[in-house]
Symmetry: C2
Subunit: 214 residues, 2 copies
């Protein structure tokens, strides 16, 4: 059975990006602190052609998530990131380089129609008919493995609101940002019911997995 998992890193005070994002610092002031746990893992370093790194709870968790994923849904900003900029450039190849780390079909929500883009083992398909369509296409492509909602927060919240997320995987960085983009900015608090089903930690993060109750 395919499980749809929305995974995102959040500060202890609930932000997925700090204040005042710029092209050079797309995660805003202090936002790079959110991802220290991931950057330190052996997996992340392997993906970037580097040796070393930690083989800890963080590393195991990232590998297990990648192994269980059959298709990915992401927003336009997560695709274009720093290189594509904020202007929805319809031809940019994103910031994932020539060999993106996915190796499964990726569905990118965007307002610009464009043909699929093949980079290494990964095909990016651009979807302009909204989150439900992107999700349906990812489900069909996942071949029984999980659909991984990679963010950003806006896409994840849209899928949560549409009742399409089965599990929420939070990586809670042990840091405060104080201001910025909140993870749950648009969710109606009374409508989201969650049940913790796993909690792991390393010195750099707490990883909590929730089942979304309906």
């Amino acid at each position: 059975m395919t499980t749809t998992v929305f995974e995102i890193t959040v500060s202890l005070d609930g932000y997925v990006a700090g204040p005042d994002p710029t092209l050079d610092a797309p995660l805003g002031a202090g936002g790079e602190r959110l991802h220290e746990w991931a950057v330190g893992t052996a997996y992340w370093r392997e993906q970037h052609g580097l040796e070393g790194g930690e083989r800890n709870a963080d590393d195991e968790l990232v590998r297990a998530q990648v192994d269980s994923t059959g298709a990915v849904v992401m927003g336009r900003r997560m695709f274009s990131g720093g290189s594509g900029g904020w202007d929805d450039d319809p031809v940019a190849n994103g910031w994932w380089g020539d060999e993106p780390p996915f190796g499964v079909p990726v569905f990118v929500l965007t307002h610009h129609r464009r043909p699929p883009l093949v980079l290494g083992r990964t095909t990016f398909t651009f979807v302009t008919d909204g989150v439900a369509d992107a999700h349906a296409r990812a489900l069909a492509a996942a071949d029984g493995r999980n659909v991984h909602v990679a963010g950003g927060a806006e896409i994840g919240q849209q899928l949560l609101e549409a009742g399409l997320v089965d599990e929420l995987q939070l990586h809670v960085a042990p840091t405060l940002l104080g201001d910025g983009t909140r993870l749950f900015e648009r969710i109606d608090p009374a409508r989201l019911r969650l049940e913790p089903i796993r909690a792991l930690h390393s010195p750099l993060a707490t990883h909590v997995r929730y089942r979304v109750l309906r």
Copy 2:
């Protein structure tokens, strides 16, 4: 060695109380959802003269915290709660009844001088010289066990800012409040560095313990 632990329950979106607190609903709209995990435990029911309740991770954690505590620091609102109201009534006996569950010295921060109050096995001492003084007196009284900072958020933050908290025990309720009182409203984000040292969960809460790094 005495460890000072600030313990508080927080929503997944970072609130310790919902919006619009009143005398009848001091935790604000939806705020009672925060404490469902505690109210369901066998320990909580025993303290309230009731049978039954869950003997789960939540229950074990509460018992371990109580057993390890040698003295408590709390704010005036946590002392007076619903019965004493918001007006700092200098003679009210708080909302803890004739046999409060502490059984160790409790130091209550307040602006009103008043003599100590003995209720059952618990002595409440009212401290008017600020958090550092309350903490020093709790340390002296703890007899080698932990100093437990029971909240509210304001007192906990003052002690964090003063560098007097060694560990932060968060109970993260799997619910959103959307608005209200934020746990980390007054903390300078750049100055608080934490390291997760434990993560447990039940279906009703995630319990994350952090070491405060200096």
